[in-house]
Subunit: 667 residues, 2 copies
């Protein structure tokens, strides 16, 4: 028996193989990552390779293609039928058989486990290895003399042709089995989950299937449709969470359930309908049949997680805030109202605790602080702030009741981040006159052409990042005192500071609508930022650190807010500003990672169990941190480098002990 | 450490145990079958024992109760709360601790695996060991400081208190979890399937749960509600299969599907509604909550099996009659429309082949020919006859197209076995006058008071067993010739033989309705019995036997037919008459066995795979046997002992070769 050396790039693996062995077989034997859906029949073309060099022992380089068998009928048919002629050195790995020493290059698109690298520097690559994969099989036809069922013959083919022992199929999958087998003339592609459960069966060769990642927020629900082969997002869509009509925030929805028997079913139906509509919408956008969607992942806060699965969240509204289930949950997709592949499952990421949900778990999966050497602080600001602190040796998490002020809610002129909202604001240190930018317009308000540029939309309100800058600038310019009171004395210096009953407001715009920051607005921001900081501080105390090495702001607020102002106001602790960054929709990205990589589910399941949950409500230190953090500005440790950036000297006054206890000081 | 000898009856097991060990622990260590639901907490009372004797080494017999600790608070509370005072020697095994040599008797009701012995002699005992069992657990309460979910704490308790690692629960079970835990103050009973999947959770201690066995026939659907602890049937109900309105027999239902798109869904809905109604009906009869029904089994022919599960049976209507699935199928009960325990499953028995279904598998499970040394023939007569032949070394099965004649259908005066139907019939050898009995009346028609006894119902028709006896008696008395022609010459001897066009009829009753056996009726019976016999003969040929050692007739027809006449007419081959018996509703019994005994499912799954399926339609020998078996009477081997029983000499003429080929002989 003649043997030859075959080497693969880019893996560098090599071995000796007998003449006549196919390149695909050689790759498998060596554990080289070479894809195949059709099982070596020369149909799918997933195992395309480049025969780059024959390693001839006598000559250094020889005509590479001489060292494999010539392309035959199968490959000619493939090129013709698929209209995909081979490049010079190209062949199908399953057809090209070894007849000399070889160097084979595997192009990226022929790798079974392609890697999709996360966009940001600190992220780690995600291997495309979804829980469900496609397997093409040819099946014995039924025969009067052999009464074995269609399913038995399918299972036999999967066992013989793909080594999958003991596959299973539920009745919804079995329902279409006979028709599909006959439509494919007993050649079908099975989509199999975890190598065990058949999710769908397609006639003939099927090459692409899809998955849906849902990020279910209290306010909005977002869906990303991904190609499970490439990992690409091929369509995205979002909509308001229709539950809003039954309660604006989470607690009012839980109250609704408590007051209306069956209310949980109503809320479940509302969110499940939104999921179904988003599935349809994204599938239509991408021109994908719903039956080609074979897997779903869900991320959401604990109450959304429960309601989306159809679990009553009532207990999450009262102490001790017990979750029904904290582990990752697999549920048949049809049980949550999704009509996709008949055996498709939805996987809900695990919940960390009663207040720190599957959304936080998704953020953790996305940001992977559990792989980090640096001590990281990750903050996802929504109606509550989910805070994660730590590194590979220890992780802590809590939820802090910031309220919705950072989202522009409960602010007199507040609004969501949308066109017309003030998102940036500066106050002249001398005149106390403001200038600002609104979303949808590149000019500052004091620049020429601003009025025309904002056009008919006008200036409609102030969003979360705008209010942060407004409050910080008010403090820097002295309009606001460190105890959070708008200084009435300033009314003498500027008409912008205006009496409003017994308190004062700062007027940003006098048009219609009139936009001002009231004393109540300041209080709302003060409470929110104190809650956030207290939560962070609590975790830092618990971990035993006085500094964090990297800060990541997740979520919409985190994408818009300027870290400089967030730190000035004291939302986040001191940290070099170049180590503070936004993670964008990290929960959505985490849901996508869980969709694309099977191992990530086990990983996040294990990580979540190890995270130390801190319940802010029962920690006495939380109150102390909270009161201390009410000062504006607050982040005194950070002052030196903030002052440099801002070009001002920040006031170092602190609220004195007796006053602190006494609560408000009047101006 | 002092040790004592503890012996148990009835098992005879014994061992040495340290002083202070509980009787329950001792029983478990020895593998003695002693029940417990509450895990030794003295609540459930399942471990009641009798301390019958202290085995004192010095004296032969001593006061038994001195050799265990005295009954304390737990047992006193048990007796009071459960209003179940102990008998003299009675104690709870979990509370009584060893302090001397002991002989402990375990009463039948305290055995975990009680045995229910099948009624008939050749049957084997069934151990009560259902797939789902009850486990009482006490669970840690949720705590702000420990965010682990309710499910995690439940799973932990099941692991710690019952050694069940890694239990799972689907969303429908999780849905009620939090409310149930709180209703039971964190003491609940979990019903767990296969030691893995939680089926239901009940507050506090739950002691009885139930299962439903369905036998789904083309004509009728029957349900048996069983206590999964005792194995007793506590309610039964049946109803017409509502699919009948969409097609009288199986093939007309398959035709309906072929002609009406979505017709399979319609047929599925009809039968699933019947199952749901029967579940309600039996639960109401027995005063059982539907949520206490935790398991379901299904038996039925292949087409009913597929339709009940929601599988399209179209392929079963055309060669090669491929089943979708032949293995046993577990399907969530709610997926087949049953609203019972939230995590309950329905288990459909395996199908043997495209024509020999889960009903035949249930008959095999009930009769267990695979355990028999004797060569057994089991025949289940319905619209088709399912035939099983063999013993522990080899089993064969086929389905033979008898048509519905044996059920009284396609017979001019035929009817189902119900009040008013002629079920027995004798013809006077000299006068050719008939006498008969009808269902619902104990008198023969020639006995005094018969007319009054049958009352207003009157004589309404002739059922399957009646037509068998009528045809056999016609043959014995010479009215019918061996070739199956009613002998016109007999019209001269009796007015009972009457011309009807070119053929003759035999008139049984002249009233209203007039009841007669026509030449067409004879043909229908002739075809049916020839088909049955040919199927039996085919299996005997294949097995290589000329005789069978035991014959079992299953199903309604089998319960009513007189083996003497069945053998005379040649429905079944020669066999000593005392070895021919009825198995009653063996399919229903098989479904009950699968409900009560987990191991039986694996057993029948393995047996079914080993059964050799014979497809009558493609066996040339079937036709030859069929033609030969057309003769009336036919079972010539059996004549000697039949003649003795009947007190007549049977005619031995055979249809000669040319005539046989030529078909009918005219009289």
């Amino acid at each position: 028996m003649t043997e030859f050396t075959v080497a693969f790039s880019p893996s560098g693996k090599r071995g000796r193989f007998a003449e006549g062995v196919s390149v695909l077989e050689a790759a498998r034997k060596l554990g080289v990552d070479l894809d195949s859906v059709c099982g070596g029949r020369g149909i799918c073309g997933r195992c395309r390779i480049n025969v780059v060099e024959g390693i001839d022992q006598k000559r250094a380089i020889t005509s590479a293609l001489d060292h494999v068998t010539q392309a035959g009928d199968v490959e000619n048919r493939y090129q013709r039928v698929r209209r995909r002629p081979f490049m010079a050195s190209e062949r199908l790995g399953c057809q090209a058989r070894i007849r000399g020493d070889l160097l084979v290059d595997i192009p990226a698109e022929s790798q079974l486990h392609r890697q999709v690298v996360r966009k940001r520097a600190e992220s780690w690559p995600v291997k495309i290895d979804p829980v469900s994969r496609l397997y093409y099989v040819e099946i014995e036809k039924p025969d009067m003399a052999d009464p074995s069922s269609d399913f038995r013959r399918l299972a036999k083919s999967l066992a013989e042709q793909w080594g999958m022992a003991d596959v299973r199929a539920g009745v919804p999958v079995l329902r279409g089995l006979q028709r599909t087998l006959r439509a494919g003339d007993f050649a079908v592609t099975a989509c199999v989950r975890h190598g065990r459960d058949i999710v769908a069966i397609y006639p003939g060769l099927k090459e692409r299937v899809f998955g849906l990642a849902f990020d279910i927020g209290s306010t909005t629900v977002a869906a990303h449709l991904c190609d499970l082969g490439s990992g690409d997002v091929i369509a995205s869509s979002g909509r308001m969470n229709p539950q809003i009509r039954l309660g604006e925030d989470l607690m009012s929805r839980v109250s609704y359930i408590m007051m209306h028997p069956g209310g949980d079913r109503e809320l479940t139906q509302a969110v499940q309908e939104a999921l179904a509509e988003l599935a349809n919408e994204t599938a239509q956008q991408a021109g994908v049949a719903r039956g080609d969607i074979v897997e779903v992942t869900l991320a959401g806060n604990p109450i959304m997680h429960h309601l989306a699965l159809g679990l009553d969240p009532t207990e999450l509204g009262v102490a001790p805030f017990a979750l029904t289930i904290d582990a990752g949950v697999d549920v048949p997709a049809r049980e949550i109202g999704l009509e996709i592949a008949p055996g498709a499952f939805a996987y809900a990421l695990p919940c960390i605790g009663g207040h720190v949900g599957a959304d936080a778990a998704a953020v953790v999966l996305c940001e992977a602080p559990y792989l980090s050497e640096e001590i990281r602080l990750i903050v996802d600001v929504g109606t509550n702030a989910e805070i994660v602190l730590g590194n590979r040796s220890r992780l802590l998490a809590c939820s802090s009741p910031t309220g919705p002020a950072f989202e522009g809610a409960q602010i007199s002129c507040g609004q969501r981040a949308a066109a017309g909202a003030i998102e940036r604001l500066r106050i002249d240190r001398a005149t106390l006159e403001p200038r600002f930018k609104v979303i949808g317009c590149d000019l500052w308000s004091d620049e020429k052409g601003f009025a025309e540029a904002v056009g008919r939309t006008g200036v409609t309100g102030i969003c979360g990042s705008g209010i942060i800058e407004a409050v910080a600038e008010m403090a820097i310019s002295g309009v606001l005192r460190p105890d959070g009171i708008i200084d009435g004395a300033m009314a003498e210096r500027s008409r912008r500071v205006e009496a409003a009953g017994r308190t004062f407001s700062y007027v940003i715009a006098e048009g219609e609508p009139r936009i001002a920051v009231t004393q109540a607005d300041i209080r709302a921001i003060q409470l929110a930022k104190a809650a956030l900081y207290a939560g962070v501080k609590l975790l830092m105390d618990r971990y035993g650190v006085s500094k964090v090495e990297r800060i990541t702001l997740a979520g919409a607020f985190g994408s818009h807010v300027d870290p400089l102002y967030a730190m000035t106001l004291g939302l986040i602790p001191d940290c070099p500003l170049d180590k503070v960054s936004s993670a964008g929709n990290a929960a959505g990205t985490g849901a996508r990672i869980a969709l694309l990589n099977a191992a990530s589910r086990r990983e996040i399941g294990e990580v979540v169990r190890k995270i130390e949950k801190v319940e802010t409500a029962i920690e006495p230190a939380f109150q102390a941190h909270f009161v201390e953090a009410m000062a504006i500005p607050h982040a005194r440790d950070a002052f030196p480098h903030l002052e440099e950036k801002l070009g001002v000297t920040l006031r170092r006054e602190v609220i004195s002990e007796p006053r602190r206890r006494g609560g408000r000081r009047r101006g």
